[in-house]
């Protein structure tokens, strides 16, 4: 079975927030109440010699291969879902110690009213039944996609090669 992963192409992102809204919908997140967003969209100014342009970045948990949060969690609340490769939180085991927050270099772990950690689970409830993660499915520009790991790596290499050329 081919392994798929969430891919992000900043060159295609227009910062429309469709991914963030789809994520909230999929996970029933009430951000007006006490819900926490799992996906964030940032707008970064990139200054070159003669122009300033805005780069949009949609970011959620990267489900790192060497996930530091997994190593730091002392309660077994964080686990790797073998099928999807996603790092998932079992909130019933989380003690809210923030060790994952101290370990994650991307500032992903957030803590809700009950003190437990919440974050993106790569929609593993969808992907195990063959659906794409909600953010990738909704993305109108293809900036977020759910692609074969090897194809994604190949595409990255190809773009890198073109940049060098």
């Amino acid at each position: 079975m081919t392994k798929k992963t969430l891919c992000f192409d900043a060159q295609k992102c227009v910062g429309c927030y469709a991914c963030a809204v789809a994520c909230m919908d999929q996970n029933d997140i009430d951000v007006v109440g006490d819900g926490l967003m799992y996906r964030h969209v940032s707008h970064v100014e990139e200054e070159n010699a003669d122009e300033v342009r805005i780069v949009h970045v949609s970011i959620a948990c990267l489900h790192c291969e060497a996930a530091e949060c997994l190593d730091a969690c002392p309660s077994g609340a964080l686990r790797r879902d073998i099928a999807s490769g996603a790092v998932i939180v079992r909130r019933e085991l989380c003690i809210g110690c923030h060790a994952c927050a101290m370990a994650c270099p991307f500032g992903i772990p957030r803590f809700g009213r009950d003190g437990t950690m919440q974050k993106c689970d790569a929609c593993y409830a969808r992907t195990r039944f063959g659906y794409e993660p909600a953010c990738a499915e909704i993305c109108p520009t293809g900036a977020l996609s759910y692609a074969d790991v090897n194809e994604a790596a190949g595409s990255k290499l190809s773009r890198f090669g073109k940049t060098l050329a």
């Binding site: 060790a99 927050a101 809700g112 009213r113």
Partner: protein, 416 residues
């Protein structure tokens, strides 16, 4: 047994985070030879980090065993639980147990963890103070705290374990007094201004502080369970229970002096190899690289134990298969994050005052932060921080709290 493996087993001493991480890495790396584990604890591994949560009633007992669904037992051929280690003979490649048995090994991992110590605390004739490390410690303390309402508890020690024990006491509505030898709590990791604010927050939550004090005598009354505790300022106070959280020492009594290079712990290289051939060490016994000082030292954190254990496991598997290990331990920096009820304290890097450093002290949104920068050409480099915050009712922290991992990484990356 697979090709290329020697007939003697890999022996792992200890069964905590470092040991289990090593066992998983060994098997994941393809080692399918015999594996023996020796531990003085029960065969079901617990997380010492969770014991204070159990004592305070925040989690049930079952939740103290975070590996219960990992089936570690299936990875082990010979499990020796509740066994004491007498000695190791690094020349003969043997472990001698207290029951007289000898176990030969091809590779040995020392991951025996640490035990509480109480230097200078006076011994009582009959009262045994509490410590908080093992499940047995936790059971005893839990029983004492729920024995009757408002148990009067003296917690001696103001670092991580002391404060988590204090939190458990508060959770059980005990009347808690925190005793510290130093003038401030969290002496090793908190800036004095932050420590002072932290102390005030504890007082606001009903904790009595006795800082810059020591205990000179403890006497148990003949006709009631309480203890009379005499402090060095002449005060005498009655307590029902005493918890000692003054530090730990590595469990290395079975290592003969001179047989392996040791200081406070066992010195290891980038692959967790000790100075003795085929002997590795990981976790609270290992002096590994602290990248911020460039020195080898014990940084007793769960995160480090897991990473060191994994490094040792994959290195042992590689050497058993006749290959050179390829995944070195990247080192660590001192870092800490602790909750005491609704108070959150996070710290990483160095907070010491040194020439060429500047301190940025901020107070905003009910938080107190100290960022320490080292002046460098072009830009100032972050080398340490403290963040102290009271977690709001809705749980939503200030963005600075969410970024503690990014700050820690920035400090770490500046050294590597």
């Amino acid at each position: 047994m697979g090709d290329g493996f020697t007939s003697k087993p890999v022996v792992v001493l200890g069964f905590g985070a470092a040991a289990i991480s090593a066992i998983c890495a060994l098997r994941d790396s393809g080692y399918d030879g015999p594996l023996t584990v020796v531990t003085d604890a029960d065969p079901e591994p617990y997380s010492p980090v969770l014991t204070s949560y159990y004592v305070g009633g925040r989690i049930p007992r079952d939740q103290c065993f975070p590996w219960s669904d990992l089936d570690v037992a299936s990875m082990i051929d010979d499990m020796r639980s509740n066994e004491h280690i007498e000695s190791i003979d690094v020349e003969a490649h043997e472990v001698k147990l207290a029951n007289g048995q000898c176990l030969g090994y091809s590779k040995l991992l020392i991951a025996t963890g640490a035990q509480p110590i109480a230097p200078g605390f006076p011994a009582s004739h009959s009262y045994k103070p509490h410590v908080l490390r093992t499940m047995q410690d936790a059971e005893r303390l839990r029983g004492a705290l729920i024995a009757w309402p408002h148990v009067r508890v003296l917690v001696s020690g103001t670092s991580m374990v002391g404060l988590k024990a204090l939190e458990a006491c508060l959770d059980r509505e005990a009347d808690a007094t925190l005793l510290g030898r130093s003038g401030h709590i969290m002496r090793a990791t908190a800036h004095p201004l932050v420590a002072e604010r932290f102390e005030q927050l504890l007082v606001d939550r009903g904790v009595t502080l006795r800082l810059s004090q020591t205990v000179v005598d403890v006497e148990e009354s003949a006709d009631c369970p309480e203890c009379s505790v005499c402090f060095d300022d002449g005060d005498v106070e009655q307590f029902d229970e005493i918890i000692l959280a003054q530090g730990v020492k590595p469990n290395l009594s079975f290592v003969a002096p001179g047989s392996i290079e040791m200081h406070k712990g066992v010195v290891v290289d980038d692959f967790m190899r000790t100075s003795a051939p085929d002997v590795f060490a990981a976790g609270d016994v290992a002096e590994a690289l602290d990248v911020s000082s460039g020195q080898k030292r014990i940084i007793g954190l769960w995160h480090n134990a897991v990473r060191q254990g994994r490094c040792a496991g994959s290195a042992i598997a590689a050497e058993c298969a006749g290959r050179k290990p390829t995944r070195p331990y990247a080192g660590s920096i001192p870092s800490n994050v602790i909750h005491v009820r609704d108070i959150l304290f996070a710290s990483a890097g160095s907070l010491s005052e040194q020439e060429g450093r500047c301190f940025d002290v901020r107070e905003e949104n009910g938080m107190m932060c100290v960022f320490v920068y080292e002046k460098q050409t072009g830009t100032d480099q972050l080398v340490g921080f403290n963040i102290l915050a009271v977690v709001p009712q809705d749980g939503k922290h200030d963005v600075l709290v969410d970024e503690i991992g990014a700050y820690r990484r920035e400090i770490f990356n500046s050294y590597v």
